[in-house]
Symmetry: C2
Subunit: 233 residues, 2 copies
Amino acid sequence: MPEPSAPRRAPGRPPRISREEVIQTARRIVDTEGVDRLTMRRLAAEIGSTAMALYHHVLNKEELLVLLLDDYAARNLHRPDLPARPEERVIAAAGAIHEALADCPWIVDVITADDLMSTSVLWFVEQIIEGLIACGLPPDQAVHGYRAIWYYTAGEIVVRTTAARRRQDDDRPAYRDRVFADIDPSELPHLARLADRWPSLTAQDTYRAGLRSLVNGLLADRRRPTGDTAGTE
Amino acid sequence: MPEPSAPRRAPGRPPRISREEVIQTARRIVDTEGVDRLTMRRLAAEIGSTAMALYHHVLNKEELLVLLLDDYAARNLHRPDLPARPEERVIAAAGAIHEALADCPWIVDVITADDLMSTSVLWFVEQIIEGLIACGLPPDQAVHGYRAIWYYTAGEIVVRTTAARRRQDDDRPAYRDRVFADIDPSELPHLARLADRWPSLTAQDTYRAGLRSLVNGLLADRRRPTGDTAGTE
DNA sequence: ACCGCTTTTTATACATGTAAGGAAAATACG
DNA sequence: CGTATTTTCCTTACATGTATAAAAAGCGGT
């Protein structure tokens, strides 16, 4: 982390590879061959170094993936035109995040990581919170609302893409089907009745609709105080 | 189909270990030493076998974890008394699932797996869908509503527990803090204003409140038809 | 008893992330 | 110049999940 602005060079052996080179090479591998092919040794070979040398530029593979996601977000997360109505701004911002991330299934391992607080996402978070406040939520509730939206969004992506991945490299019938076959209609009547339509129903993309419902529900709390945790902390 | 009356032994070498033994031994290891200590070799040693022998009783480690979760759910997921009001039944059922799973942080890797359609959870799914239908949602929307609830629930658990795990074995300051430090108040005014309260706000447990909002929002769609959302397509 | 057939168990091997320790290449100071 | 210091890089080693193939243990039929 030495300042490049400083005229005097840093002590120590000069680096042959840079963090940026690591990230960009990793990006190329992921883009062209998929995230499965991204191994530390492979990446090092591509750069012309060794696996362990990478660890002086990224903390570990997980951080590398986070950095890749940051990079991806910075390039692919375009700010949408913001609608006039504040609740629509919330929908637009959250929808934009979801859209960008859903196109990028390999991030699932990363998404669970932190709050996904990369710099490029912050603008969207700001818009969501701004919209909720503009709708009349107090700032605290707006933050909680943002988190609810994020839980919903991350959950949708994680569940959907891991289910898809599972379906892909697992040829035997889905766990679900085995379970559904054994349903006792007298105990679980609705599930029994819906069983055959379940695959097609759950295959539909209902993210937007659910998001709208969630935002509506969050805004309905406008008048009521927070309830249990209204206190000071 | 061979005659069910004759308990004729199956052909082939008789098994020395059973799937049930594998699961129960794995459970003991997880309970006493944590999920990190659960390795295939360790498990095999505990049983008095070899790692590869386990693979004739479970498909792989991931399936073993799913089975463990099933087992856990079957023992710890107690059916709550159902309130009279249908929307409260939805809350109660979803809340019960969340409560059981949140107490069991190691499932995070599993939760992303399938739809979490183990037999013992089905009753709760039934109650959620029943409640939504009783509130006036058509069955299709009830299923979509259930899925939204599940996304929200799974997302909450995944995000929260991985963040916690991260904080635990990573001593350096959270990613979040570094990012928040660089916020430009003129660009992201709300975030800048909320920055110092962010940790305490996001540390609060708002699952129930968010769940209520989500359910309210889902029910608000009662009147509207399935809803091609305006202008999306 | 021997032979195929089936299923379970074992032995061996490999890819992967990464810990540990030492070698290399630069500067700083004498 | 030489020595210490600092940073980067390389070699080696280990734990883990699991692929592969061989061995073992039971069966019925001959």
